[in-house]
């Protein structure tokens, strides 16, 4: 069985749910909005995997029956806005969500994606260092509370952008008026990057499947092009074999089954990588191009559902990650 966990109304979750149902797959949706009445009874199985039962308004889920999962949970407070955070009911919702996160991290099931693997995206400079280790070019980056450091950085790079450090969604903005921005930089470390000219390419990786989308826009951040009165044009594109292979390898190396990778191809022929999104909002791209991203994810989940359990394999199908490394028993313990 495939378990879906998140909030109905989230377009990617809804689309995958419908796709799996259309394929006649056994799928169960766990609605995070009902977290305050969801009860999770977890246990370890003696071999270091976590299983148990989850009961929500629909009924009971035996987690032993779940062989694959697609999870898109959000902050508990946002999922359950009508519940006061001072209320015991809210604490019950938090407990249920925490239990499900623990299960997702330690389940003997193929989870797309495990929360511990996704967490790297919550620190952009941390993830950027990871990306660089996989051989991609990354923009020179400065995180600072120091005005003088920003000025030195701007002297080295004629065009600079700035954005947030955390996973809190921020808009990439050009540093057009340093005096305006630098006045507040001491209050909070701010991330500045050299501006990389070129064409944006968004790559969705689902297991071994790749879907690449070329994005052309005059906006600095195409996600918010409409705000600046700019258009966005997206078209399917192909990747050089080495770049495609690097995207798959990086996704797998980050212990992810699914990723949305932001690349930029420069006029000088270089490929830069800015970010690896472990829970990509793929519907935005598929709506514009009709590319089969939804199908790729649904097919991946079905493959994983039929694959051998994690405990019997070092990795999932097609070399995809299965679980956290399993330490060997240390000597002297028996």
């Amino acid at each position: 069985m495939i378990l879906l966990w998140g909030v109905p109304g989230d377009a990617p979750l809804d689309r995958i749910h419908a796709a799996l149902q259309n394929r006649g797959t056994a799928v169960r949706l766990l609605d995070q909005r009902g977290a305050s009445s969801t009860r999770a009874a977890l246990r370890t199985d003696g071999d270091g995997w976590v299983t148990g039962k989850v009961t929500d308004a629909t009924g009971e889920i035996n987690l032993d029956d779940v062989n694959a999962a697609y999870i898109r949970p959000i902050d508990t407070g946002t999922a359950c806005p009508s519940v006061s955070k001072d209320d015991a009911v809210f604490l019950a919702a938090v407990a249920a969500d925490n239990a499900l996160v623990n299960w997702a991290n330690l389940a003997d099931a193929h989870v797309v994606n495990r929360p511990q693997a996704m967490a790297a995206n919550n620190s952009k400079p941390f993830q950027l260092a990871q990306i660089a280790r996989f051989g991609f070019a990354v923009p020179e980056t400065l995180v600072t509370t120091d005005e003088a450091a920003v000025r030195r950085f701007c002297r080295r790079h004629p065009h600079v952008i700035f954005k947030s450090v955390s996973g809190t969604r921020s808009i990439v903005a050009p540093l057009t008026d340093p005096e305006d921005t630098l006045a507040d930089v001491a209050n909070c470390p701010t991330q500045f990057q050299e501006y990389i000219p070129g064409v944006d390419v968004r790559v969705h990786v689902a297991g071994q499947r790749i879907v690449a989308t070329k994005i052309v826009s005059a906006a600095h951040d195409y996600r918010y092009a409409a705000r600046s009165g700019n258009e966005v044009r997206m078209t399917p594109t192909d990747l050089p074999t080495t770049i495609a292979e690097s995207c798959v390898a990086m996704t797998r190396g980050m212990d992810l089954y699914l990723s949305g990778i932001d690349l930029r191809y420069t006029p000088a022929g270089e490929w830069y990588c800015f970010e690896v999104n472990p829970s990509p909002g793929f519907t935005f791209f598929e709506a514009a191009t009709n590319q089969p991203i939804e199908s790729a994810i649904a097919d991946l989940l079905i493959e994983l559902d039929h694959a051998r359990p994690c405990r019997r394999t070092e990795s999932g199908p097609n070399g995809a990650p299965c679980s956290a490394p399993r330490p060997q028993e240390a000597p002297g313990l028996r």
């Binding site: 511990q116 919550n122 509370t145 947030s164 209050n187 470390p189 330490p327 313990l333 028996r334």
Partner: protein
């Protein structure tokens, strides 16, 4: 210099800083993070600067950082407007994860992506880790008295024999920590923490030595 990343309201951290004053120890508080002077280049972390107890210092002068908190809390950022505190706390924690993971000096413990002081796992996760290592885990209703064994680098303190020491070291190794407190009851693990109490003199001496040694 040894920087102790902790709340300025943490008496144990303050005591460590005072005791290690001859090693130029200082408290790195939440307030320091919102001061001018931080410079971090992920591609060259050794070249940056930090702000510790209000002083700007080169990262190259740090021999060690001891992390005694899993996160900076929004409630601590009283100098900021209330509506900005949650966002700034998120930014500070994201920055610290990257900075602590990258700086070349000894960091005990290196952060995970969700905790600044090493793994901050629920009990069920430590239980699962114990099972994978073949270590017995005590059920919560077992009422035997418990004791905390502390691992500091390659040393183990308060273990009642080689087996307890092996258990604690195995958990430290498997969780990627240099400092770990493992609570044992009747030979079974009943609790684990990456921020054990540091009241014992011998543990403090060991920790200080590790924080003064270059990795």
């Amino acid at each position: 210099m040894i920087a102790v990343l902790a709340s300025r309201l943490d008496p144990e951290a303050q005591s460590l800083v005072a005791e290690w004053s001859s090693a130029d120890a200082a408290l790195l508080s939440a307030e320091d993070l919102s001061r001018a002077g931080w410079v971090f280049s992920p591609s060259a972390p050794q070249t940056g600067t930090a702000v510790v107890e209000g002083r700007r210092i080169p990262v190259s002068s740090l021999t060690g950082v001891l992390t005694r908190r899993p996160a900076v809390l929004a409630e601590e950022l009283s100098a900021l407007a209330p509506e900005d505190r949650a966002y700034v706390a998120a930014e500070l924690n994201a920055f610290l994860v990257a900075w602590l993971a990258a700086i070349p000096c000894t960091v005990i413990n290196r952060p995970t992506t969700t905790s600044l002081s090493g793994p901050s796992w629920d009990g069920i996760r430590w239980q699962a880790m114990c099972e994978r290592l073949g270590i017995d885990w005590a059920e919560t209703d077992e009422a035997a008295p418990s004791r905390e064994v502390v691992v500091c680098s390659t040393k183990c303190f308060f273990a009642a024999g080689a087996r307890e020491a092996a258990i604690a070291k195995a958990l430290a190794h498997a969780s990627g920590t240099e400092l770990l407190g493992v609570r044992l009851a009747a030979g079974k693990v009943c609790g684990v923490t990456a921020t054990p109490a540091l009241t014992d003199v011998d543990v403090r001496v060991c920790l200080r030595k590790q924080l003064l040694s270059r990795p």
